[in-house]
């Protein structure tokens, strides 16, 4: 069964059919070495034969549980990880055929934002030099022009440019993630892999960074590969969503199809597991609780990799081809693809989507409240934030150790050696 898709959820998507990224038969295997001679004892099939495309101007969400290979896929796409097999083409050029020099030039067009804002910024570099580094590497600007560009980037992500000579530890997690975004934008990329960019942040800060990413996408015409484990987040930001399980893409399609009528039993199980902040909807739900854990990618199950935990497999009386034949990712309708022999059967059920039918979606702020607002939300959002360290110092009544207004007269954004 397919829940009715609300009109508001049908959105206009980039119609440009030109693919910016083409991934064909991508495999990434990691050898397991053990014993004193470090002989290869087995292989972790982190990504196993994955094919998809990222269209120019779209945001493709890549969602799955830990260990499903989504991050490895993201890294292999921009060639931070050498694929074991398969090709990745960017704008029609096979990245595997490029020498290191050409690859570096190509990398200017594709960037990555990492998950952990605490470990992805060098603690010994100032914010200015962190953002200036890619500009220098790609010889984009020098001297005053470079400093101006850094200031512009900081403004773009909502940080006050006067804090260029501060160090990452002086900023909060959300602010650091903004610095990571500014660094990625420094080389004016067309394509950004966002690898769980908001998973380490608090709810209210998550929304801020998510808004920043959507704003930048719309303003700069960026293409995103957005990797996350949170289905609600992926649904919010993506034009199409790919669901991964144990190294394979099991379903791919526009979010309204995937969330209102998914064809793969795993997608349905995932949907039913996500908590919804509405007690009434929660009481109405019938969860499919999957048995056991995700199997090891060293010895994935034969046939369909999901059959060991699949509720549909049990319901259909354990059909043999689920155990013996690996289902290909096939087209169900239009833009909707799923890798399940019995996707049509899954579509007949209401598993995982029952609660979506006729729930009144209640928001936090009641409508009457807005009239009482005394502060303009947009104005508040546009305010630059001071680093946390500064706030603490301010509160303690002392002055900060580093001068705040040094961006104008500093010779360079590099820290003094």
């Amino acid at each position: 069964m397919t829940a009715t898709v609300p009109e508001a959820a049908k959105r206009v998507r980039p119609t440009d059919e030109h693919n910016l990224v083409d991934v064909d038969g991508l495999k990434v295997y990691f050898p397991i070495r053990a014993g004193i001679f470090k002989t290869i004892q087995g292989t972790v099939k982190a990504v196993d034969d994955v094919t998809f495309e990222v269209r120019k101007g779209e945001t493709l969400g890549l969602v799955g549980e830990s260990g499903c290979g989504k991050s490895t896929t993201g890294r292999a796409v921009i060639r931070l990880r050498e694929p074991t097999e398969g090709t990745v083409s960017f704008d029609g050029v096979d990245l595997g055929t490029l020498n290191s020099d050409k690859l570096r030039r190509m990398r200017r067009r594709m960037q990555i934002i990492f998950q952990d804002p605490y470990s992805s910024l060098d603690p010994r570099m100032t914010v200015g030099s962190i953002i200036a580094e890619p500009i220098e590497t790609h010889h984009l600007a020098k001297g005053a022009a470079k400093r101006e560009r850094v200031a512009e980037l900081l403004k773009m992500v909502g940080l006050d440019p006067k804090y260029v000579s501060r160090y990452p530890h002086e900023f909060s997690g959300g602010q650091r993630q903004r610095i990571g975004v500014a660094r990625a934008l420094a080389v004016e990329p067309e394509f950004i892999v966002c690898d769980e960019p908001i998973s380490a942040l608090d709810v209210s800060i998550q929304a801020q960074v998510l808004n920043l990413l959507t704003d930048l996408r719309d303003r700069l015409g960026l293409t995103y590969l957005f990797i996350a484990h949170d289905l609600s987040v992926v649904k919010h930001i993506s034009d199409r969503v790919a669901v991964m399980y144990l190294g394979k893409i099991v379903e791919l399609g526009p979010p309204e199809i995937l969330y209102y009528g998914p064809g793969h039993p795993y997608t349905r199980a995932l949907l039913s597991a996500v908590p919804v902040p509405d007690p009434q909807a929660e009481r109405k739900r019938r969860r499919v609780i999957l048995k056991g854990d995700v199997p090891s990618p060293v010895n994935p199950p034969s046939g369909c990799r999901f059959h060991t935990r699949c509720w549909l497999y049990e319901r259909l009386g354990q059909p043999e081809n689920c155990r013996t034949e690996d289902p290909p990712l096939r087209v169900l309708s239009g833009d909707h693809r799923a890798a399940c022999h019995y996707a049509e059967e899954a579509l007949k059920t209401d598993v995982g989507i029952a609660h979506l039918d006729d729930t009144r979606v209640r928001r936090g702020t009641p409508d009457y409240a807005f009239k009482a607002a005394t502060v303009d939300a947009a104005e508040q959002a546009a305010r630059f934030e001071a680093p946390v360290a500064e706030l603490i110092a301010e509160q303690l009544g002392g002055t900060t150790t580093a001068p705040a207004e040094d961006s104008k007269d500093s010779k360079d954004s590099k820290p003094a050696e």
Binding site: D215, S232, V276, R285, L356, V361, R363, A381, R383, I392
Partner: protein, 365 residues
């Protein structure tokens, strides 16, 4: 303000609009006498502070709440709001120094645990109060077998022989859904997956039939499908044994599905409390609105930007006498910066909020 009260319903008709008067009512409500009858846990005016070189951090500031037998109460808020420190204070596990419980009473089953001797406290922990922590990998000892770790508290608190204790361990492990439990007694934590380890933690928490389980972000480290398994397990077991659960979580979705009542914490204070339906249907505090607004939702049809709460949570060093949320609030008025609101009743039994604007005579309506 009688003209508004007629709209607002009978529960607040008696409520004086003068804040000073309301304060005395609130104080009377909490007057230090006997613990609330029939309540398992009665926390009154609990304050826990951390003494750091930068100053005194008021991590938990004058927090009061009750928890009935078999009830599930959620403590919801962002990092640093004081929810974990509240739970640690209840069992006196706050690291001292730098932390210290500076004021308050915590009645557990009628006894003030803050006045108990260290020995009596130790007998309470693990026996009457079980714990489930966020990260099962670091909260289990990697060098001891699973069987030993579960049996430890049983031997300690129930005085069973090692054979009887072992039988109990097997029973517990099968209860939490670990297959072939008897064969796995000799296994070490690293041989278990994350979800399995959390099941072991739940078995330890349940080992001595506790009356209360403190679950601090029990599923934050787990994947959604495993999270669904663990949450289901916690709610069936707490129903079965009529165990009360204090569930600490940052995930409003989990709170909506699991809790009977929810306390929202911000800046060391409870800023809103109510039955789960009240809180999600008619929240009465701009912070709660903001939290709900900033969540992307599966059942959402909205496009574009999320409404957010701009700015950052407050530092809890010497907070001024002002609403702690005021720098981030869209509805702020002078009074919010001059005087901190009390936690006062709203429409509906047991629904309280700490906000000048949503008070009966406030400006948000």
């Amino acid at each position: 303000m009688p003209e508004q009260l007629s709209v607002d319903g009978p529960t607040i008709t008696e409520l004086p609009s003068d804040p000073a008067l309301r304060m005395t009512i609130e104080q009377a409500h909490r007057s230090p006498s006997k613990p609330a009858a029939g309540k398992l846990l009665d926390v009154r005016n609990l304050s826990t502070q951390f003494f750091t070189p930068d100053g005194v951090i008021r991590a938990v500031d004058d927090v009061s709440f009750e928890l009935g037998h078999g009830e599930t109460l959620g403590l919801v808020g962002e990092s640093g709001c004081g929810k974990t420190v509240t739970a640690l204070s209840l069992t006196r596990l706050v690291p001292d120094p730098p932390g210290k419980i500076v004021a308050g009473e915590v009645f557990f089953d009628g006894v003030d645990v803050l006045k108990l001797s260290t020995d009596a406290m130790r007998r309470l922990r693990g026996k009457e109060i079980g714990f489930i922590f966020q990260d099962p990998l670091t909260s289990l000892n990697p060098t001891l077998t699973i069987g030993f770790q579960i049996a430890e508290s049983i031997r300690q608190h129930m005085g069973l022989s090692s054979k009887a204790a072992n039988d109990r361990v097997v029973e517990l492990l099968s209860k939490v859904g670990i297959p072939r439990a008897r064969d796995r007694l000799g296994d070490y934590p690293f041989q278990f997956s994350g979800g399995m380890r959390q099941r072991v933690m739940i078995a330890i928490a349940l080992a001595c039939d506790p009356k209360l389980i403190l679950a601090d972000e029990p599923t934050t480290a787990l994947d959604v499908t495993i999270q669904a398994q663990i949450l289901e397990l916690i709610s069936t077991l707490s129903d079965e044994f009529r165990t009360a659960v204090l569930l600490i979580t940052h995930d409003l979705g989990i709170a909506a599905g699991m809790c009977d009542r929810v306390n929202v914490m911000y800046g060391g204070r409870i800023v809103e409390t109510g039955m789960v339906d009240q809180l999600f249907e008619t929240p009465q505090m701009p912070y709660t609105w903001g939290l709900l607004d900033s969540l992307p939702r599966l059942d959402d049809t909205r496009e574009g930007r999320l409404r957010t709460i701009e700015g950052m949570p407050p530092l809890l060093i010497d907070p001024a006498d002002a609403c702690r949320f005021n720098p981030r609030c869209l509805y702020v008025r002078d009074i919010c910066r001059e005087k901190e609101p009390m936690l006062t009743p709203r429409k509906g039994e047991g629904h309280d909020a700490r906000c000048w604007g949503t008070e009966p005579d406030g400006w948000i309506k």
